[in-house]
Amino acid sequence: MNEPQGVDTAVDLGGISLRNPVLTASGTFGYGTEFAPFLDLRRLGGFVAKSLTLEPRIGNPPPRIAEAPSGMLNAIGLENVGVEAFIGEKLPAIPEGVTVIASVFETEIDRYAEVCKRLTGVPRIAGLEVNASCPHVKSGGIEFGQDPTVLGRLVRTARQATTLPLLVKLSPNVTDIAEMARICEGEGASGISLINAVQALEVDPETRRPLLANGLGGLSGPAIRPIALRMVWQASQAVTIPICGIGGIENAADAVKFLLCGATAVQVGTSNYLQPSIAGDVADGIADYAVRHGYPRIRDLVGALELPGR
């Protein structure tokens, strides 16, 4: 599948073997089976499941989402079935031959480690993605990924808690993404995923209130794509571990841009909501691009951005 005219589409994302470089982003693809009516999941490199916490969480009061120019804001608030129900009920329902990456989300470092441990050794889980964009309770609500020291401790603790390939999903709400990427590499992360949603606020002038019950939310969708490309490029210049590019990907051309800027793989996010079969089309389209441009292996596109001479 996905190997038109002999293009080698396989990539290695920090020890996770993917049949092609297209994943779907955590929180935009449920637990996978929701997409079965629209898409053969085996067309994808794999998917990152909805972030898991130790206990089930019911999430934030509504309104939880709002529209923004070429994007959307969300503040869902950790709603998930919890790690046990994921292992017991959701994972067995995912068809064989689909690569599953579990996403881990907590409010304290010790609890992150517990979720990582619980997921380790579970058949079918190919790797973990630690979501470092969650507010850290003990640091007064600042995101884990915003404080270099806290991020370092989180990655070190997660690394010690699991033998699985470990991706760290970085927050874009930082001044220097290269520094955060280097910390992940230094603490033993297998790879990094970026970017998570951009902190944002939208307001209704008539009611003088934020559109979201939570006030602040995360902006995603095509609006953030150039920001994401810039950050992937900067991170790829700073580290040698592989990068998974995320941010407003709508089609294969967008995905190729991320590969050129140094991403080994990509995650399709918000577009899954609007076009539930789109991730499969992106995977096929990247292979077509490789054929058209004479690349026998998709991994040769990684970092192939040509910069103008100085």
Partner: protein
């Protein structure tokens, strides 16, 4: 079971994604429109199910602003061969629906559907009272049409003024009883539709009640009106089913954006667990 008038109301029909062709898109009132979409491979739908329509026609490039598709009740459908003509009634209220109103015959609109669960059907012999406010009428035509003939059906339709009424002729063509209320009295009785519900439940039943069988209320409209209907029905121990609306990004249980607060605590998803709920299960106080 006798109450299973349509099978699989708990599941609905499995959805498809398709590029639909605009057959007709006509204005029927100051801000109300009727859209007819030709959908290849449409699998049919059950009363209460909806579809996600992308905002505006598909041009050379996909539109990203506004980004999200809009949830719309499937009003009714006519099937011929392997394609169906879907009717959607909508009001131009914002950017998404304004763009939809610009879609011309022959242009394409992306659709995902049918989505959500069907209305729980009434029991055999139950008297059915359907209350609709404004565009809520679009969610209940199929319900009324499928129950007409097998159940005594009364539709109570309320709007601010006569020109806000939609599709009245369609309901008049059914074997049902239709009563209209407008706040300014420009059509039907002057007043609000919740008053019609009270009199329907309390007043002389005009021979439609079958002795020994129950009554059931279905309601779709503005939140305040649905909440009031739920109270009216609850006080008389009549089961009430409310079809909720909410902003959604996906429509199939993934974005988790359309949370509705429940009396028992926690949330249900309007797209997956609804849109129709037992009205007594909803925490109306916390519903925005």
């Amino acid at each position: 079971m006798a109450e299973e008038i349509w099978e699989g109301y708990g599941e609905g029909v499995a959805p498809i994604r398709a590029e639909a062709e605009v057959v007709r898109n006509v204005r029927e009132g100051p801000s109300s429109w009727r859209l007819v979409l030709r959908v290849p491979g449409w699998p049919g739908f059950l009363p209460g199910q909806f579809a996600m329509l992308s905002a505006g026609a598909q041009q050379a490039a996909r539109r990203t602003d506004p980004l999200l598709p809009r949830p719309m009740a499937v009003y009714r459908a006519a099937t011929g061969g392997d394609q169906s003509d879907l009717e959607i009634l909508y009001k131009c209220v914002g950017r998404g629906t304004a763009l939809l109103a610009e879609a011309l015959p022959g242009q394409r609109v992306a659709i995902v559907g049918p989505l959500g669960k069907a209305f729980r059907p009434p029991r055999s012999g139950e008297r059915v009272i359907i209350v609709a406010g404004g565009t809520g009428i679009a969610s209940v035509y199929e319900l009324a049409a499928r129950l007409a003939g097998s159940h005594p059906v009364e539709v109570l339709f309320g709007a601010r003024t006569a020109s806000d009424l939609m599709a009245v002729e369609d309901f008049e063509a059914l074997e049902i009883s239709l009563r209209v209320a407008t706040e300014d009295g420009s059509a039907g009785v002057r007043g609000v539709v919740t008053d019609l519900l009270e009199s329907a439940l309390d007043g002389p039943t005009r021979g439609v009640d079958v002795p020994g069988s129950g009554r059931r209320v279905y309601v779709c409209g503005p939140t305040a009106m649905m909440r009031r209907c739920a109270e009216i029905a609850s006080r008389r121990e009549v089961p009430c089913v409310a079809a909720l609306e909410n902003t959604m990004a996906c429509g199939f249980g993934v974005c988790l954006g359309c949370a509705a607060p429940l009396q028992e605590g926690g949330y249900a998803l309007v797209c997956l667990d609804g849109p129709a709920f037992d009205a007594a299960s909803i925490d109306w106080e916390r519903l925005p």
